[in-house]
């Protein structure tokens, strides 16, 4: 077991937890949180591939990909939250109709 394996496992764990939350939670803010957790899981898997032991310098390409991913994630989050607020204002609820109807 090295750090790469450990953090890859953590990454897939985060992805699964995020996906579970995304599907199970009706509140839209929680869905947004869950998507961010899933994204962090993917970042962890990518970052782990960059690790080449404590002596060697890590692979900078996954680092750059994750930086791009973080910026994309914050863009999507900001947009989703703005949309969420409009929906709350317009409908009085912060969940999709099919989730509350059941």
């Amino acid at each position: 077991m090295n750090a790469a394996v450990l953090y890859t496992l953590m990454g897939v764990g985060l992805f699964s937890i995020g996906l579970h939350g995304f599907l199970a939670q009706p509140h839209l803010l929680r869905k947004v949180l869950a998507l961010n957790i899933m994204g962090s899981g993917v970042f962890a898997v990518l970052m782990a591939t960059a690790w080449r032991g404590p002596q060697l310098p890590p692979d900078p390409v996954p680092h750059a990909l994750v930086l791009t991913g973080i910026v994309v994630a914050v863009s999507a989050t900001a947009f989703a939250l703005a949309l969420l607020r409009r929906i709350h204002t317009a409908t009085g609820r912060a969940s999709l109709p099919e989730d509350t109807a059941a």
Partner: protein, 501 residues
């Protein structure tokens, strides 16, 4: 100067930037010149591909695997023409649509988004650029960024409609889109971990039957199926496409769902083909069949015109996936490949025309309830004609583009001894005839005297009609695109064109 390949991406991005700075007045000039420039660049690129085969452009001069490469073969070029021609005509339609729309003061709904519609142009240009970037990119991470670009632009455009239904539909679309992208992104991470490269071509030589590669294939496919809205992952599509402003519905149904389908084609046939077992294609084919049946039946049961057209999209997406079990890499593979991609093309023209015609009727009537469409055949004959012509292509009658696509798929089905796929194509055509006639019957009912009707700009009707004519006549002009499709295709030999009547 042999870098025509970059301009279909760079030009719309530049135009989007300028259109935000320059404001409404200049927007038309900017968009007009951008369209001309894109068409010119695309003509140059097409000539290059036609004469010299697939084109590459190494961005920044950094050869893969370090850098990113653009790649254009026949498939990319056909997709680029699809998005350029359909996109430009939708743009023409939108000019009339938003002019008409801002004239409608009074109702709360239109007043709310009247001041936001200026953002239609930059968003539409970004969507255009994202489509072109996706069709040209040969790097799986770069493709992830283009997917996000496309998804955000699509959702933002849906929200231009402003109303409650559009907001909720936009949110559902956004969540589905983000979930799909993340699944794709996870696949990218696993592929990088196993193969150490991101370039599509290099990946194709390095993938092997390895658990991480299997997983990557599974999550990327699922993510892209969600974005393409293949049954049973189509739940987000009908509300989003039905509640968006009409030009946006046309863009989304005609072009955006094709983008993730295109990516799936690339991945399955040019990256993962070595490791995928034939049964995987059968699964996608079965889902496609279910989509055709389920989408058509639900289309028949809708009360609103735009929802009917949206469910028809769910059904038509199914045809695209009949390609997968039929393209087995042998003699009939080429026919299936050409048939499936040609269907994407024909559906883009026909569905955009249908949504545009539906939008025109909605603009004239103020609603799109199927049971109150009576008299539209007299009031808006051009739009009804466009709707009917597009319907002919969806049904797959000659000489439409839909006919050629189905003919090729049918040919592949019979040649491969899997006739049952062909049977589904025919049943699907009959169901399409059912929902198209449902609309026509209502529209040609006698005109009631008490209906309020607002005249609409003629340009809206003409734009829809030209796309419908294109879909209708595409079958007669099928040889050039079908020949183009063979350039760089994974299937060599029998082109499928000789199968044509």
């Amino acid at each position: 100067m042999n870098a025509w390949i970059v301009w279909p991406v760079v030009v719309p991005l530049a135009a989007a930037t300028l259109s935000v700075l320059a404001g409404q007045r200049m927007a038309r000039v900017i968009i007009g010149s951008a369209t001309v420039a894109i068409v010119g660049a695309l003509a140059g690129l097409t000539l290059q591909v036609w004469q010299n085969g697939p084109q590459r452009h190494v961005i920044g001069g950094w050869e893969p695997p370090l850098g990113i490469q653009l790649y254009a073969d026949g498939l990319s070029v056909v997709m680029l023409w699809m998005s350029t021609v359909v996109g430009a005509l939708i743009g023409v339609y939108a000019l009339g649509y938003f002019a008409h729309d801002s004239g409608t003061t009074g109702t709360a709904a239109t007043g709310e988004h009247g001041d936001n519609s200026e953002l239609f142009w930059p968003l539409w240009l970004f969507l255009w650029a994202a489509l072109h970037a996706l069709f040209l990119s040969a790097d799986i991470f770069n493709l992830y960024v283009t997917l996000e670009l496309l998804g955000l632009a699509g959702v933002a455009l849906v929200n231009l409609a402003g109303g409650q239904l559009a907001l909720v539909a936009g949110m559902r679309y956004l969540l589905a889109s983000l979930l799909g992208s993340l699944a794709y992104f996870l696949g990218v991470a696993f592929l990088y971990a196993t193969c150490g490269v991101l370039d599509v071509r290099m990946l194709s030589t390095r993938v092997s039957a390895h658990p991480a590669v299997w997983l990557a294939i599974a999550v990327m496919t699922l993510g892209l199926l969600l974005k393409t809205a293949l049954f049973p992952l189509h739940f987000w599509l009908p509300p989003a496409h039905a509640n968006a402003p009409a030009p946006v519905s046309a863009l989304l149904s005609a072009l955006v769902v094709k983008a993730s389908f295109y990516l799936l084609l690339r991945l399955w046939f040019q990256v993962f083909s070595v490791v995928l077992p034939p049964v995987a294609g059968q699964v996608l084919g079965i889902l496609g069949v279910l989509a055709i049946l389920w989408g058509s039946v639900l289309a028949l049961r809708q009360q609103r015109l735009k929802l009917l057209v949206a469910y028809s999209t769910v059904a038509q997406i199914g045809y695209l996936f009949v390609l997968f079990p039929l393209a087995g890499g042998t003699a009939w593979g080429a026919a299936a490949w050409s048939g499936g991609t040609f269907h994407a093309l024909a559906h883009a023209c026909a569905k955009a025309a249908m949504f545009m015609a539906a939008g025109t009727m909605m603009a004239a009537l103020g609603h799109d309830h199927l049971h109150e469409l009576a008299g539209m055949g007299q009031r808006l004959p051009l739009s009804m004609f466009a709707f009917a012509l597009a319907g002919v292509s969806l049904m797959g009658l000659p000489p439409s583009g839909g006919f050629v696509a189905k003919w090729l798929l049918l040919d592949a089905a019979l040649a491969s001894g899997q006739w049952w796929w062909g049977a589904v194509l025919i049943v699907g055509g009959l169901l399409a005839a059912g929902y198209v006639f449902l609309v026509l019957r209502q529209a040609f009912a006698p005109l009631p005297a008490d209906v309020r009707y607002r005249p609409v700009p003629r340009v809206m009707e003409l734009a829809a009609l030209s796309l419908a004519l294109l879909a209708f006549l595409l079958g007669l002009m099928a040889i050039p695109p079908l020949t183009l499709l063979q350039i760089g295709a994974p299937f060599v030999g029998g082109l499928g064109t000789e199968a044509l009547p």
